[in-house]
Amino acid sequence: MIEFFQQLLNGLSLGAIFALIALGYTMVYGVLRFINFAHSDVFMVGAYAGYYIGRFVPEHTVWGGLAALAVAMTICAVLGVIIERLAYRPLRSAPTLNVLITAIGVSLLLQNLGQFFFGATPRPFPELFPVTLFIFHGIYISSNQLVVIGVTLALLFALRFIVLRTKIGTAMRAVSQNPKAASLVGINNDLVISFTFALGSALAAAGGMLYALNYPSIDPLMGVLPGLKAFVAAVLGGIGNIPGAALGGLLLGVVETFVNGSKDWSTYKDAIAFALLILMLLFRPAGLLGSFTKEKV
């Protein structure tokens, strides 16, 4: 029984990271209707940003960790805006396929620039937050896992607040519903889209840093598989739907953990994640919490 709850906890902390990355995917898809392949590499840049900043802040301090987190998120927010401005904005009116290809190009570029500048050898990530172990009725929880779950929840609520209660959030929802109408009522689409990217990239950076805290080995290709899994999570929950992304992330994390812990199926876990995706797209394309929009001619 203890084993079950321990696995559940493991799954939730893994799922929280998927959720964080999935949030970024879902936001950008909601507003721009395309999958930002480069998202997983912004995740990687966030982790490396945390690594370099970690050299200037003392280890095992809460303020050090938070400072690194804030700076990493800011750097990646700027990166996201730059990417959008240079690579995606000129293709705003092009067929989605072209933007998708560009996104793949940006993703590959970031990966390869990362390999070039950072070197492909994995690097150990510093312990930024103080690390303690909590034991609760035989279940072991690392403080880093709690940090992940805590930060994810905090960012989730912050995101929901921004989207539902602020002017820019309302503008984001307007652009996602109907860009032309939104610009007609005076919304600056460019600004809103840039803001969306900034927000999404900041979330990716947070995800990257938290991932690196828990699995303290970073390399330039670290974002590829978590990114794909997070995308699966976003689709599971309903792409474009923020609570859905969180739910999808947690669900995928738990499923993957239980598969991992089973004796025979652990090596198939990647295939199972994708199989889940395919099944979901076949039977309920809108995802768990999403709503299906009929394609009109």
Partner: protein, 313 residues
Amino acid sequence: MPRPLLALLIALAAAAALSAYSDHFDAYYLDVAIGIGINLILAVSLNLVNGYTGQFSLGHAGFMSVGAYLSAALTMWLGPALLQGSESAFWPPQYLFFAALLTGGLSAALAGLLVGLPSLRLKGDYLAIVTLGFGEIIRVIFQNCEPLGGALGLNGIPAYTSVFWVLSFGALTIFTVHCLVHSTYGLGFIATKDDEIAAEAIGLNVTRYKITAFVVGAFFAGIAGGLYAHFKQTISPGGFDFNRSIEIVVMVILGGMGNTVGVILAAILLTLLPEVLRPVAEFRMIIYSFLLIVLMLVRPKGLFNFPGRSAKS
């Protein structure tokens, strides 16, 4: 005799002639030529799916791996048994190889059917991710399949691939795709890409076109996989991953989606480039990705897309 058929026969004859004289050429250049041929088959077959039919498939390497593994399994396991006691060193192995290639191609075609069917309802981004997912699933299956070498893959595959086979199948691929698309039936592919709903509205069986594109594309990818396996003599699941699929996609994009000539040129260029850039191999991928972005921004129709040659899109 119709021109494409004539061209095919000439190409086959040229391939035979070239390979008969192959001893006179530098082994390195022959290797490069074989590499070009394999990439050509991959790119042209993907062009049918991505370019002409507009189905954005990111899992082409998966079909390639099916062809590679199954053809290698045939030559490695059944080969010695079938070839025992044969007197000529030339003929029976070549028949075996041809049979192996066909088996690989047909298995890949089956895989194409299995991947294409569920993907029918999906478009654009979703289709891309699902095909990517299928590619990964195929990779994981091979990785866990101990009889096929598991994660280490197969090595010591007999080196049956020669210039003749590569050029012949290359010509065959181009011929098939060209004839398929430039027929009256074939206009349906392009119609599917342009506007699916309109195509359905005028009575075209869009489903059939999509499936056909996937199956034919997968078949030739499987052939390319078999040629690859008997060229490199060693295959592993890791060599057929997402990155491989992307490399093929880049060739199609560079050449111009739906432009066979452009895609052929792109395949040649992108096979030669790594060899030329080997001293600066680190920069190659950076240049590649940069190229992809710039291309989409500046010349989305592809580098080699000359007006009047491409399918209207």
